[in-house]
């Protein structure tokens, strides 16, 4: 602890009002589940039970799909695009108006620092809704023919790492294109989706256009496999993505999958080193590393490896881990005990395989689920920590000598979601960017997102794009 010791600066949680229990949002109303059982959602930073939510059963899913179908048939698909646009603009404005409340709620349920939910998640949620609102009455100009048609009912299953942002990524393009939605938030982070249900109420969105069913994997499976859905959109693990791809085989359901990653963040010897350090930190420690496109493999050119690692370690020592609601917290809680176990297991494997483990001095709170920022050096391509997605604040550092070697190592993975390149030489950036097999290449930056910018993976990182004009294709018949 230094001389300048930041006093606690907690964001007030009095702005949020969490009900003791929640039902399902179907046909515009919060309803009790028919065959669903309740489960608890906890604050991962304290293990405090926040609320009880319903695990929707098959009959509940059936009801939600029927509501979405009815809304599709009776109101939404035929509504003029300009009116769908106005509803989406309303949703965007309501999110902005309630952004502090939603940010606090997100941090409580997810464990992410308020600094991130406030400055990254919520602004992007509103921006995404705004962006697609404007598309709703311009679909004929999207390059999909003069009169592209919606698909029908979209089943959308989203992860726990950016709960409300992933909701926006899914719902905004679906609604803009005239589809209706049944969305299942992640088991551990249902609360902001349920708050969004209230925003749909405030917007006077026609009943059934957005339905939200909470639950775990079984609910998701029932939704994805429901015969009444025309479209499946999933963000989550590659393993579940594979199951979904299998389960829709032989059907006419359209599918988009945004799955795992093991991104290489490549630093050349002529990189802007201080900004590269920031990019590395942002790449792997943003959101506790719970980011599918995280820069989890640092590939650094030998000649600057020592210098860069020294800078990186010095920087990591300034990261502040703790209360997600403290406005100065950089690293929040791991979202669940299951995820914490996975991070611990793979980190132990890293040590067993001979990589050198380092973390800055860092006190972990007694309660809740925590893992310190961790760096493994001496990692090779053969190590499991260089190949498997850890989905936590764990960086594997490898070195390289030539651009060709960096490229080969970067592409040597079944994943292909993102990559980073750091060099001040323009032609090398473009050379790398052309050859990296990844859907997003960040050059001299990392982990930037924008609703106008298409996002999605190559290879086992999934298919389809979210964001911009390309994001419309997933929800339209050309």
């Amino acid at each position: 602890m230094g001389a300048f010791d930041y006093a606690p600066a907690p964001e007030s949680r009095s702005i949020v009002d969490i009900a003791p229990s929640y039902g399902l949002f179907i046909a515009g109303e919060m309803v009790d589940p028919v065959d669903g059982a309740p489960f608890k959602t906890v604050n991962p930073a304290t293990e405090e039970v926040l609320s009880e939510v319903a695990a929707a059963g098959p009959a509940d899913v059936d009801r939600a799909v029927a509501a979405a179908r009815s809304a599709y048939d009776t109101s939404w698909a035929a509504m003029p695009g300009r009116d769908r646009a106005k509803f989406l603009y309303r949703l965007a404005r309501l999110v902005q108006e309630r952004s502090r409340e939603l940010a606090v709620l997100e941090s409580i349920d997810n464990g992410k620092p308020i600094r991130e939910s406030r400055d990254v998640d919520l602004p992007l949620v509103a921006a995404h809704l705004f962006h697609y609102a404007g598309w709703a009455d311009k679909l004929g100009h999207a390059g999909l023919g003069p009169d592209p048609r919606p698909l029908g009912v979209a089943a959308q299953v989203i992860p726990w790492n950016f709960p409300l942002l992933m909701l926006a990524w899914k719902i905004a393009p679906a609604l803009a294109t005239g589809n209706t939605v049944v969305l299942k938030p992640a088991e551990t982070t249902p609360l902001t989706a349920l708050a969004f249900a209230d925003i749909c109420r405030q917007a006077d969105l026609p009943p059934g256009v957005v339905n939200i069913v909470t639950g775990a994997g079984d609910t998701g499976r029932a939704l994805v496999e429901h015969a009444g859905v025309d479209k499946v959109a999933f963000t989550g693990s590659t393993e579940v993505g594979r199951q979904i791809a299998r389960s829709v085989a032989g059907t006419r359901k359209r599918v988009t999958l945004e799955l795992g990653g093991k991104a290489a963040n490549i630093v050349f010897d002529d990189a802007p080193l201080d900004q590269a350090v920031e990019g590395i930190v942002n790449g792997i420690f943003f959101n506790q590393g719970h980011v599918c496109c995280a820069g989890s493999r640092l590939l650094v050119q030998e000649s600057v490896a020592d210098d860069l690692l020294e800078r990186l370690k010095r920087r990591l020592a300034t990261l502040r881990l703790g209360d997600p609601l403290d406005k100065n917290t950089d690293i929040g809680a791991i979202n669940s005990p299951e995820q914490l176990a996975r991070i611990r297991e793979l980190s132990a494997v890293g040590e067993q395989e001979g990589a050198e483990r380092w973390s800055p001095a860092c006190d972990l709170p007694d309660r809740g689920f925590w893992f310190p920022p961790t760096v493994f050096t001496g990692v090779t391509q053969a190590h499991r920590i260089a190949r498997e997605e850890i989905f936590g604040p764990v960086l594997s550092v490898l070195t390289f000598r030539t651009p060709a070697e960096a490229l080969e190592k970067a592409n040597n993975t079944p994943y292909g979601l993102s990559a980073g390149v750091w060099t001040e030489k323009g032609s090398r950036i473009l050379w790398m960017a052309q050859r990296l097999r990844a859907g997003v290449v960040w050059a001299n930056t990392f982990n930037r997102f924008d609703p106008a910018s298409p996002f999605g993976g190559y290879k086992e990182s999934g298919y389809g794009r979210e964001g911009g004009r390309h994001g419309l294709e997933a929800y339209l018949h050309a």
Binding site: G2, A3, F4, D5, Y6, A7, P8, A9, R115, D119, D270, A271, P272, L273, D274, Q275, E278, G279, T318, K327, N328, E424, N444, T445
Partner: protein, 315 residues
């Protein structure tokens, strides 16, 4: 060149070696540097941390008056304020220095005697730096002879931007020699350097030539100090110490008018360089109106009510 740190002794052997060294420094990505500074600016400094930061900021102020209309009376008033910024609160620390033009150094030295507050003089044809070298050095010697223990010089930006790094270097070395025991602050005038790459190079150039402090601005050019410029300079002094073992201070001058901004600078110091620079010996604010806002915020913390400007002296 006794002040040049040993490990880099040969760097300034010629214009070519100096150029090669400065252009071999890692580049600075503008967007990344500004994003980092903006991120640090979101730190929320409250209660005890705020009290610490406000007092530290007061102790770091170089209370400055650099106007053509300056008078001995004004300098005496400023000096009195520097010694005891808040007469209603004896716990309020003094500022670091009073910064004046050379002709007013005797007035300040007299007014500050025994207080521990330093007398800083701007020199070397401040603020433009456009004078023959012998005139600039005479300017420095006059201030030092009059009792100034800190000299704020300006670099020859024209020479720097033209790539005549050795000329800039040698002028700083000569000024350093003319300073004798006085501390030398080298003003880069970052508002005229156009890029952060140039800020980093100028920082290293000044440090290689023996600067005790590197300082952002004269206050006469806009933009003056900014958070990202100061960040880049702090990275430079941090890296310079790692490379040479010699610690150099940083002074952010101009444009810092309120306590909130000052606290942001201290956060950047804290998270870039750490404890070793969190002292008036190693970080300064060149400012005038900043002090009153710091005092008002101090009073707010102490009393719990918001302060009013009528209760704090103006010069």
């Amino acid at each position: 060149m006794t002040t040049t740190a040993e490990p880099l002794a040969d760097v300034a052997a010629s214009g070519a070696t100096l150029r090669r060294f400065l252009h071999g420094l890692p580049g600075v990505d503008q967007v990344g540097a500004e994003a980092r500074a903006a991120g640090l600016a979101t730190r929320s400094i409250k209660t005890t941390a705020k009290a610490f930061a406000l007092d530290l900021a007061v102790r770091m102020v170089d209370l400055t008056t650099l106007e053509g209309q300056d008078t001995p009376g004004k300098v005496r008033a400023l000096s009195a304020k520097g010694r005891q910024p808040d007469p209603t609160d004896p716990s309020c620390p003094p500022v670091a220095a009073i910064c004046v033009y050379g002709d007013l150094v005797p007035v300040a030295v007299e007014a500050l005697r025994g207080s521990g507050v330093h007398t800083a003089a701007v020199a070397t044809a401040f603020p433009s730096g456009r004078a023959p070298l012998d005139v600039k050095l005479a300017d420095v010697r006059a201030s030092v002879d009059a009792g100034a223990d800190e000299i704020d010089m300006v670099i020859d930006r024209g020479a720097f931007l033209a790539g005549r790094y050795l000329d800039v270097h040698d002028e700083i070395v000569a000024t350093r020699a003319a300073c004798g025991d006085a501390h030398l602050k080298v003003i880069l005038e970052t508002g005229e350097l156009a890029t952060y790459d140039n800020v980093r190079r100028a920082s290293w150039l000044a440090m290689l030539a023996g600067a005790d402090f590197i300082k952002t601005s004269t206050g006469k050019v806009s933009p003056a100090a900014t958070l990202p410029v100061t960040l880049v300079m702090l990275e430079a002094v941090r890296d310079f110490r790692a490379a040479t073992g010699r610690q150099v201070g940083v002074k952010a001058a101009g444009g810092i008018r309120n306590a909130k901004d000052a606290v942001r600078y201290l956060v950047v110091v804290n998270e870039t360089c750490g404890d070793d620079w969190l002292s008036p010996d190693w970080f300064r604010f060149g400012a005038s109106s900043l002090l009153n806002d710091l005092l008002m915020q101090r009073q707010k913390l102490a009393t719990g009510r918001y302060a009013g400007p009528d209760y704090f002296t103006v010069d």
